[in-house]
């Protein structure tokens, strides 16, 4: 199935340019992994990055730089890349960009957040306030109306989610700016699995305010 809701050009520029924080970038690339159209859009943006790189005025390196690099190559030294260990294969996320973040997918540390809602903390950055969380929501579970201090990005992994702008199915991408107040919901006959990244704590309101203790960590 081909997703019909995609990240904006601006958001893809942030991912491709490298300015998006890791939790939000993870939601974007998870969508890209499910969307050939956005794979092509990203290729265009990264090609622009290549031209930008190519056209920079070169900064000379130290005279011995290449010799030093060859020496490091011979030492077998590797860069300090924080490549995340590959988890055992298998499971629904085996070839997903999420795989390196989840460890053993058969044994995810689901945490019950309230009736019908379970979550797994996937990645937190920037003082832990920006984070990506897996949500498993049982059919028909009401979700709280809330506002944001920062942006929110969602990719639906399984099932269906209703939000501003309609119904979203597997692969679909939803982004909201800081100023929106919204109340997503889940159909009565289908569970939903999605990955949501937010910047800053959520602001709850209305009758669901009483749920705040449950959501205090999201």
């Amino acid at each position: 199935m081909t997703p019909t809701h995609h990240p904006s050009d601006a958001t893809l520029f942030e991912y491709g340019g490298g300015s998006l924080s890791e939790p939000l970038a993870l939601v974007v690339v998870t969508h890209i992994s499910m969307c050939t159209e956005c794979r092509d859009r990203l290729a265009e943006i990264e090609a622009i990055g290549g031209v930008m790189l190519e056209d920079l005025e070169p900064e000379a390196l130290a005279p011995a730089a290449f010799a030093r690099t060859l020496a490091r190559l011979d030492e077998g030294a590797t860069a300090s890349s924080r490549e995340i260990p590959r988890p055992a294969s298998g499971g629904p996320f085996a070839r997903s960009p999420l795989a390196p973040y989840l460890g053993d997918v058969a044994d995810l540390p689901w945490k019950r957040l309230g009736r019908g809602i379970e979550t797994v903390d996937v990645v937190r950055r920037r003082g832990r306030e920006t984070r990506a969380t897996l949500f498993k929501v049982a059919r028909g579970t009401p979700l709280p109306s809330h506002g944001h201090r920062g942006r929110e990005m969602t990719v639906v992994l399984e099932g269906k989610l209703y939000d501003e702008g309609g119904a979203f199915v597997a692969g679909d991408f939803i982004e909201h700016d800081a100023d929106i107040i919204h109340r997503p919901s889940i159909p009565a006959d289908e569970d939903c699995l999605c990955l949501i990244a937010v910047e800053g704590r959520l602001k709850f309101q209305g009758v669901f305010g009483r749920l705040i203790p449950l959501f205090v960590d999201i």
């Binding site: 520029f13 490298g18 794979r39 290549g50 930008m52 005025e57 070169p58 900064e59 070839r95 960009p97």
Partner: protein, 190 residues
Amino acid sequence: MKDDRGSPTAVETFARQIVAIAEHGDRAAFGALFGHFAPRVKAYLMRLGAPAAVAEELSQEAMLLVWRKAAYYDPRKSQASTWIFTIARNLRIDAIRREAHPELHPDEPALTPSQPPAVEETIAANQQEQRLRAALKVLPPDQAEVVALSFFADKAHGDICRDLGIPLGTVKSRLRLAMKRLRAALGDVL
């Protein structure tokens, strides 16, 4: 190199050099790539605020990654400059911002290294870089500015709009318009 920068010949040469590293650890090819790209990666890192000494060190690390990851480079899918840009971008995020840049899984069918491509197939899109460069040159300045900031500011667009004193919606629409023009210029090359 400046004169034929981005020309189909130069673009193709860089791609072949990466393939030569993957195929037989070609140090001469690595040297040529290093001479061209390491000073540009250093400039990229400095443009994003890294001190010269840090940029020097990281540009060498980026070239080591070019060597190590050469087998993952597919010249049919991207220009050498594109691929090296993504390596430099990710290394900077790792080393300076202390985050990872989440990527497609390396076992994605689309990413798995294939048999070395036949020479004729190499860079089917070898004019892409020239076309993009030409299209970038004629972008309206307000669009060109936000495109450049997307690569060189390490700022979310929300912060960029505050810096420029324009609404966020304007930043977004300029990027959308820029992308439309650039995509049109690429035509069916990609």
